[in-house]
Chain length 583, copies 2
């Protein structure tokens, strides 16, 4: 037997027990006559004690050890003379009587500590060593726990976990599909699923009224920061439900997770905000509600003072940054630069300081009197000491820019506490968005999303105004999940495809089997999918989802540890009837 205990469990009450431990050498302190070794495994660290006087031969063996050696020791649990209250095992140590080296280790390329000296690149290359760090382990273990808690909640609610296939058919969003050449069917390809969407709808038609699955999905996108080509989705679907049935059940899931994982009790219902309202109030469809700082519409208030920028603007909005009236010229200049970065893309920023003495100082004093500025303060609920920030332009773009500025000011004011959580639902998304260039309509959610019932009739005449039975769960500015009630009517689905620019043949080729399935008694249904990686990262306090994925790929989609993707032999290409065409 390699061990009787792990390295995290021995306590004062075990003193005098004979034990066997195995683990990694975390640290060696050679004090000459005595040597202390910290032995580590995923459960903790236990201190080993070797005394030269008691057993000099054994003691000398420790000299050959190094960091990350795997060793097995036998010995007696003894009370420490100087205890370490910061360690769960800090009351005891093992007085070692036998030492076996199970595996040697080269000097690792970075230190296996929370504060490591290894940069991201080298830690990714040696991910198996990075995974030994307690900080990384914490995320992986949390992920496991969250997966089990999610399953428990859903199983308790009569959901069935059902696996859907990975080798499927390329879909209209096909350009982002990863494909898999078939060896047996020359020139043909499977595709990897971007989501199990179609299959979960088929399961509803098949009568499995509560389905879920934690499953990998795949998307071949040009990599953006913190995207992975493969990611994990908590995919759920229900039949015989209306929107609120779904919101209530999955709000229950979120509350269960907050309670079990973060020990936070959300007793009140989550706020539900319509998409249009969220855009107007927060300039975002995933607002961070850990702080207020709503956007105020100043379009009417600021007009008529010969300030051409505002007079010509479709929309002028403002936020009020509490207590920042003291910002220096340098600070406001930097803020202007910040909104002018391409990520925000604003032309500029107007500000008005509401001084503690009740006077105002603005960057447009030429055009606006103190009385005018007082109106700005009233409209934004500013108090003396606050800083009012205004942006203008086309409405949508300005709102989005103000939304970004709001988050930045929230950061500066330290209003975005990692330990605070503000969940909400965004509802009533638009069904379509129009491509500004081509005029083509696209589905905001996906082509199976149902319009709101009372708006069905607009589908032929005024589709842009239709709202969808779609919803997102948002926490702290992150979209954690999203879904919709689906269309379960063949005719309506056909109209949708038409509006989305599919020819009849295209719709049939891509979704014929689904359309066909609708003919045989489709129940009303809807669902939701959660981004599991993002949710775990949020609960783990991680910036990046890479932190909570055991073997992530880098931003270029490469696994630099195993060196993939890589070349395959000519023989295999030939078997697949493929040739590489270099440009």
């Amino acid at each position: 037997m390699y061990r009787t205990h792990n390295c995290g469990e021995l306590r004062q009450s075990d003193v005098n027990s004979e034990v066997t431990l195995s683990g990694w050498v975390q640290k060696i302190r050679d004090l000459g006559a005595m040597t202390f070794i910290d032995l580590r495994d995923r459960y903790g660290i236990t201190q080993l004690f070797f005394n030269k006087e008691d057993n000099s031969e054994l003691h000398s063996q420790t000299e050959k050890l190094g960091r990350e050696f795997v060793i097995q020791v036998k010995g007696k649990v003894t009370e420490r003379s100087s205890k370490n209250p910061d360690m769960p095992t800090g009351d005891i140590e093992i007085t070692v009587s036998e030492l076996n080296v199970l595996s040697k280790s080269d000097v690792p390329p970075f230190t296996i500590e929370d504060e490591t000296d290894g940069g991201e690149e080298i830690r990714m290359k040696y991910r198996y060593l990075d995974l030994r760090r307690a900080k990384v382990q914490k995320g992986i273990i949390l992920r496991n726990r969250m997966a089990q808690e999610i399953r428990q909640y859903l199983i308790k609610n009569d959901f069935l976990e059902i696996e859907t296939p990975f080798l499927i058919k390329s879909t209209p969003e096909g350009a982002r599909d990863f494909v898999v050449p078939s060896r047996m069917a020359e020139g043909k390809f499977y595709a990897l699923p971007q989501s199990p969407q179609v299959f979960k709808q088929l399961l509803m038609i098949g009568g499995y009224d509560k389905y879920f699955q934690l499953t990998k999905c795949f998307r071949d996108e040009d990599f953006r920061s913190d995207r992975q080509p493969e990611f994990t989705q908590i995919d759920c679907e229900m039949s015989f439900v209306e929107r609120d049935d779904i919101l209530n059940l999955f709000e229950g899931l979120a509350k269960h997770m907050f309670k079990e994982i973060k020990n936070i009790d959300f007793t009140e219902p989550f706020v539900r905000i319509a998409y249009d309202d969220a855009m107007e109030m927060y300039g975002s469809d995933r607002p961070d509600l850990r702080f207020d700082m709503k956007i105020s519409d100043l379009t009417e208030v600021v007009k008529g003072n010969n300030f051409k920028v505002f007079d010509d603007a479709e929309f002028v909005g403002a936020i009020c940054a509490e207590g920042l009236a003291g910002y220096s010229r340098k600070q406001t200049d930097k803020l202007i630069k910040w909104v002018q970065r391409p990520q925000i893309g604003a032309k500029g920023l107007v500000f008005a300081k509401y001084n503690e003495d009740g006077t105002f100082k603005s960057s447009v004093d030429k055009f606006y009197s103190q009385e005018d500025l007082k109106k700005w303060a009233d409209a934004t609920n500013a108090k003396p000491g606050d800083l009012i920030l205004l942006m203008s332009g086309s409405k949508r773009k300005t709102l989005l820019a103000l939304g970004e500025l709001r988050l930045e000011m929230g950061n500066r004011l330290e209003l975005r506490d990692d330990n605070k959580f503000a969940p909400l639902w965004i509802v009533d998304f638009p069904l379509f968005e129009k491509d500004e260039e081509t005029g083509q309509m696209h589905a905001v959610h996906h082509p199976f999303t149902s319009p709101k019932k009372d708006q069905f009739h607009l589908i032929e005449t005024n589709p842009e105004n239709i709202k969808a039975e779609a919803y997102d769960l948002v926490v702290n500015g992150n979209e954690i999940g999203g879904g919709s009630i689906r269309i379960h009517d063949t005719e309506l689905q056909e109209k949708m495809f038409k509006i989305l620019g599919f020819t009849e043949e295209e719709a049939k080729a891509q979704f014929g089997f689904l359309m066909n399935a609708f003919k045989y008694g489709a129940p009303p249904h809807g669902g939701i999918a959660f981004g599991f990686d993002r949710w775990v990262a949020l609960f783990n306090g991680s910036e990046s989802i890479r932190d909570v994925i055991a073997f992530p790929k880098n931003n270029a989609g490469r696994d630099i540890m195993i060196d993939a993707p890589s070349e395959i032999d000519a023989e295999q290409l030939k078997d697949l009837s493929l040739a590489i065409v270099r440009e």
Copy 2:
């Protein structure tokens, strides 16, 4: 709200409640003045009652309904005048007051009944309808339950469920890899995992000493009956363990599953049989122990009687089929034909009937006296009334053929009861097998399998005789799981690769990262993987794993419902820098 109850839960105690139900129309019985409809969902069937006299307008609506329509009804639970004790809801019916059609249905292409009129091809094409059949549902629901039970057991035993990547690197068994062309890295490919083998070993090196995962694996094989290109594996690995630690823990899992799912208590340890013994006794490395009928070695017993076939044979073996001495000439002739089929490939079969009167009648009476045949009976423990069946030839081939014959006789004697389970471990597999043509050694399990400790020294001199620390869990003739203790020593692993015919470069290119990982303190480790599809099929009493997969592919690897694999556009091929080369 679409429903207050499902179609399986209303009972006598609900009589007089007002309820709302939704579901599929299973059956309509129109008795003129009264109509009865069976309403179905995945929870059961509830009878609906429409009375013309009470509400003729409502009653007339039922005339427009058809099989598989989705309807919603409101009404009162009433006690049935004639109860149906075979149905859980058989005491009650719903006296309907309101009927809404939620979805119409075309006449389904086959009946949604356990005994359906649809052949396999059409049921696969309309799998979403096939999935409505109670028989199919049972398998899918069982699968969900088994997955949850497996997780519970492993989580209780401190295992962590950790996801490993799907977009990985092609391996030496590469010819069977499905590959995924990379768009971003021209001419390069990911591969889909045939198993997470390498990643679970890296997780052990990373310190996650108890790992598991229910995950999809992929193998691009020429399809054999009941193989799927994608299949689900229960993948497990542990550190600081020896073989018996693993066998004991996973025997515990198997017992847990037998108890929870089949309500069978295996209180005794599972039998453990060495591979060599299994081959000699049962002619199989996955013997069906629901019945005995061991193979007897008659090589010495039958020699020296001038029967050239036996005199020249390396091996002569026999089984005794109890009570079949009465087989007619026609029956034995058919049996001879059976062993001559290419699947068995035997030249023939010698038999001896041990008649009830104590005399013998054999197909080789010319060469063997009654006394000779009595010796056969003694060697095979045959009693009067039994049939002794002998085969001869090279030892291995003959044992395998006798193994097949044993199963066939077990079937004929009805000794293979679906409700009986005989689990066992096969241990001490050979480490290598030699390719008869090329002389090249192959790993029986895989290249990371550890030789048995006391046989390490044979690796250079006599590798063929080395046994491996490998094991299979076998139930009723099915290999349910298999695994091994792994090599955790770089030097030994390098020797293995050499014997397996890898050049140093090949080994480095394919497994460099793993070999490198071994340098940084690899713990002793081992694991096991279970074929989840097969296990569920076994517990479900299904012949084929297709029965317990929601959306299976056919034997040619096609999903005929969605029509995959299929062609992709030229544009997408170009993006992938690929061209199709038709032969």
